[in-house]
Every structure is written in C-alpha cells, then in structure tokens.
Amino acid sequence: MSSLTRKDLLSKDFLSIFRRSFKTSTWLGWKIESNWTDPFLFAVYSIIKPLSGAAIIVVMYSVIAQGNYDTPYFAFLYFGNAFFQYVGSVMTGVSWAIVDDREHYKTLKYMYVAPIQMPTYLLGRGMARILVGTLSVFITILGGILFLNVPFHFSEVNWLLFAVTFVLGIIALINMGLILAGVTLMLARHSDFVGDAVASSMFLFTGAIFPITSLPVVLQPIGYALPTTYWLELIRRALIGNVVDAFPTFAGFSNLQLLGILTAFALVLSIVSNRIFKACEHRAREQGLIDRVTNY
C-alpha cells in the first residue's frame, strides 16, 4: 500500500483508505496515550509536565528580573516557549509510533501487511499528542495572561494571520515528524530519543526563547534554515505584534514575506518528507528492520 502511484492518489480508494487509516489510527493513538489511567488523572498528567517546563523559565526570569514581567523580553520568551511545545508534541507524536509499534507492541510488521497508508497511520497515531499539546499550549498561555500579566489583548490579535500561520507551521512540523519517523525506522538504538533530541536542538536555534541574533554569527544560519523560526516569529507578530518590534531580527520582512517563506517550507517539506520516508522505508524493508526488536 505504501508504493502508491499518481493514479492511485487520485482514486476513490485512496481517499477511502486515507479516511479509514486516519480515523482508526487516531482512535488507537488516543486509547494508547490516555487509557492507562482515569480521565482526570490523564488531564492532570497532560498539563503538569508542560506547565512545569514553562514555570522553570518563569522562575529563572523572575529571579533576575525580580518579578517584573512587564517587559517585551518576557512576552517574547513566554509565547515562544509556550508555542514551542508544539514542536516536540507534533514531531515526536508522528515519529514515536514507529518505536512504540516495533519495540513495545511488536505490531509494526502487521501494520505493513494491513491495507493502510503508513504516513496517514503515523499522522493518526500522533494526533493524540498533538491534541494534548494544544491543550498544554492553551493552558500555558491562559496562565500567563491571568497570573503573569503577559501582554495579550484579544482585540489587537491578527486572527487571520494567526490561523494561516498556525496551520502552515503544523503542516511543516508534521512533515518533519514524518522524516524523523523514516530515520527512526533505520535506527537500532536511541530511536526513543530522536524526536526529543531534534526538538532540543530546535529550541536553541529557532529563537524560541531568545532572538537568534544572540547566537554566534556562525550558528545563525541554522536558525534561518528552519521553518519553526518563521513560524514562531509570525505567531508572535499575530498575537503580540507590538512586543515583537523590540526584537528586530526580521524587521526587514513584512508579514506577507514571512508567510511566503513559511508556505514554501511547508510545500517543500510535504514533498520531500514523503520521499525521504519512502526511501527510509525501502531501506528498512531491504535490511529487514521492520520487525527488528533491540530491547535497547
């Protein structure tokens, strides 16, 4: 099922299989993520971890700024850190199913003989983490607005820009997750940590918590080569536009220009990720890695 031709892609069967794969794997992903405990405990579990991550940064800031949250840098830091939670949840969400199904449940080989589309299946499996990530981002931002006076004015938000940016960014992240899933297929060890490791790297290079111009000049191009950098900049411009003026990293770019760059990233990644995943999958099949259990 994974070697689909263009004709197949346009057929009714394709859509039907897509719908079925996505729906079933989303349901499966949600059950795996959530049914190990009762719903209340799951909700608490889902928000404590990201809130603690945000709180570490708030306390660090507060220790030095002596509780003065009314600065442009705090808003920059808070929103960047809050939305960055998506990077980990989307990318790891999509790629983790490979580790889970191959190492833990030992069902990956059965997925390959089932009439499903593997990339769609992986996307569905990741949806639970994406939904939980959305809840975490929402609660983190709400907490910032209610308790830390993060400068957010509902009426001044550019909702259209936010919606378009948000969707494009998620598309880019999903496709990066698919690339990671392909890489994970070929890894014997440390595959558990690939998503987190890549997310950690991006935390540093994408201007999530400090402007990328603060990085050494030699490292800045890494930030400019990542879609998340533009995504976070546009999210900030849409939600807290006036604050971003204090950080002139992209001052020479209009919203439309940045949106164009992000769209290009999303498009290119959509094409490239599928090809990379297919290439990795092909190699994994040839080398017999689909059902490899390492217990590492």
């Binding site: 579990y45 971890k49 570490i56 800031y61 030095i64 700024a65 840098y73 833990h104 918590i209």
Partner: protein
C-alpha cells in the same frame, strides 16, 4: 558482591561498546543547558547563574538515570522477560539493584562530567571551591541517597503496568522545577523547597552550588552542613526502605502473578 558486579558490568562495558551515548547523553543535554544559559545572558544575570545552570544541567543526567535506568528498570526487565530469570536465579535481588545502581552511577558520572567540562569551557564558568571535603561528602551522600531512592522506586515500579512509563515521564520537568535544577532553590517558597528535599538532588545540588560558587552561600537554602546531615539520614532511610519494599513487593508480585505479565 558477585551479583552486584555482574549486574553493574553490562552498564560499564556498554559505555565503551556503544559510544553513541556521547551524542545523546552529552551533546543533546548540552543544548538545553545552552538554551537556559542564553536566557540568563539575555536578562543580564550575574555570571554565577551560568554556572548554576551548567551544574544543574549535569545533575539532570543523574535524575534521568534514576528514572529510566533504576526506577523503571525492573519494569523493563519484566517486559523483556528477564525478571523471572533474576528471581529464579540464586542471585539476591538486592544485589541486582545495587549492581544497577553502581553501574548507573559510574556511567552517569562520566556523562555528567562531560556536560560540566563542555559547559564550563564554553561559558568560561569560574568555580571557587570553599570546602572541598564537605563538597565531596555532599556529593557522595547525594549519590548514595539518590540511588537508594532509585532502588526503592524500582521495587514500586515492579507493581506497575503501562503507567510506569508515564510516571517516569511525568517526574522530569516538575522535579527539575521544584528541585531548583536551573535556579537557586532559595527562590521557591520555603515549604515547596522543604517538600522537594525528599529528592536527594534538591539538597545535594543546593549544597554543592553553595560550595563551588562565590555567590553560592548567599543564595543557599540551608546550611551545607545541615544539608549533609539530612542527606545522610535520607541515605539510610532509602536503602533500608528499598530492602523492605523490595521484599514486600517481590512477594506481592509473585503472589499476584505480576512477575511475568505484560500489560502494555
């Protein structure tokens, strides 16, 4: 002793055989450390705070080792089918836990040293060691009590099913927060810090920072000598607790048939 060395050896040999840990356990944690250092630099924090982050970042390696290679270990052994073999063998389970702790401690010490060395060189961290003897005592007591805690929770995790993974996952960021891994503990409310002191790294890290940084003493939570005494008490408590709990949970797990179950 034979069991302990036997169980510790795979962890030590693994350090040489599988060198990819250098990337995953030193390089990637360094990125988080660099990120936090950059925040402090962006807000103009005093230089010692950079050192606090480097030392805190290095100590996260020990906490991660406790969570994923001590607490969850018997659970993983159960999942992979090794646990019944351990129990069927004449080796005492306490020896196996001690071996896990010893191997993990040595391996993690090398990783943490790597993070400290790279971080210190990268950010030019200045250390002003005020009492080397007390520093050594606090570090050793922190490790004994921390791995004692790991041994105790390992037996608890033996009773868990799928929730084991989630519980270990949950005990990362919240612990980094309440234990003051990236900022001085003193800035948290007193009772939060006091409650967090049950985790040995909380007081261990606070004591070590007080003894290696010039401004450490002014930012300390308790007197380092008092912290050493509390850590000594915690060490005894956790190791005795681990022995009692292991005996109890092993019996319970055998009686309820949980040794061979796989509830993933």
């Amino acid at each position: 002793m034979q069991t302990m060395i036997g169980r510790a050896s795979p962890r030590l040999i693994g350090l040489y055989r599988e060198k990819s840990w250098l990337i995953f356990d030193v390089f990637f944690p360094m990125l988080t450390v660099i990120g936090y250092v950059m925040i402090y630099k962006a807000i103009g924090a005093p230089e010692d705070y950079v050192g606090f982050v480097v030392v805190g970042g290095a100590m996260t390696a020990f906490w991660m080792n406790i969570l994923w290679s001590m607490s969850s270990q018997l659970y993983w052994e159960k999942e992979t089918g090794n646990l019944p073999l351990y129990i069927a063998s004449p080796a005492p389970m306490m020896g196996i836990l001690l071996g896990m702790a010893l191997g993990g401690m040595v391996g993690t010490f090398i990783r943490a040293t790597g993070v400290i060395l790279i971080g210190s060189l990268l950010f030019n961290v200045t250390y002003t060691i005020q009492n080397g003897f007390l520093l050594g005592i606090i570090f050793i007591l922190s490790m004994i009590s921390l791995y004692g805690l790991g041994m105790m929770t390992a037996s608890l995790f033996l009773l868990f099913g799928r929730e084991a993974w989630h519980l270990a996952n949950l005990a990362q960021e919240p612990v980094f927060l309440v234990s003051g891994f990236y900022f001085p503990l003193k800035f948290l409310p007193f009772w939060v810090s006091a409650a967090a002191s049950i985790i040995p790294l909380t007081l261990g890290l606070d004591g070590m920072r007080q003894l290696v940084f010039a401004s450490g003493a002014t930012l300390g939570f308790l007197d380092p000598k008092l912290e050493a005494i509390i850590l000594a008490v915690l060490s005894v408590f956790f190791i005795v607790g681990a022995k009692l709990l292991l005996d109890h949970t092993e019996k319970l797990a055998i009686r309820e048939g949980r040794i061979t179950e796989n509830r993933r």
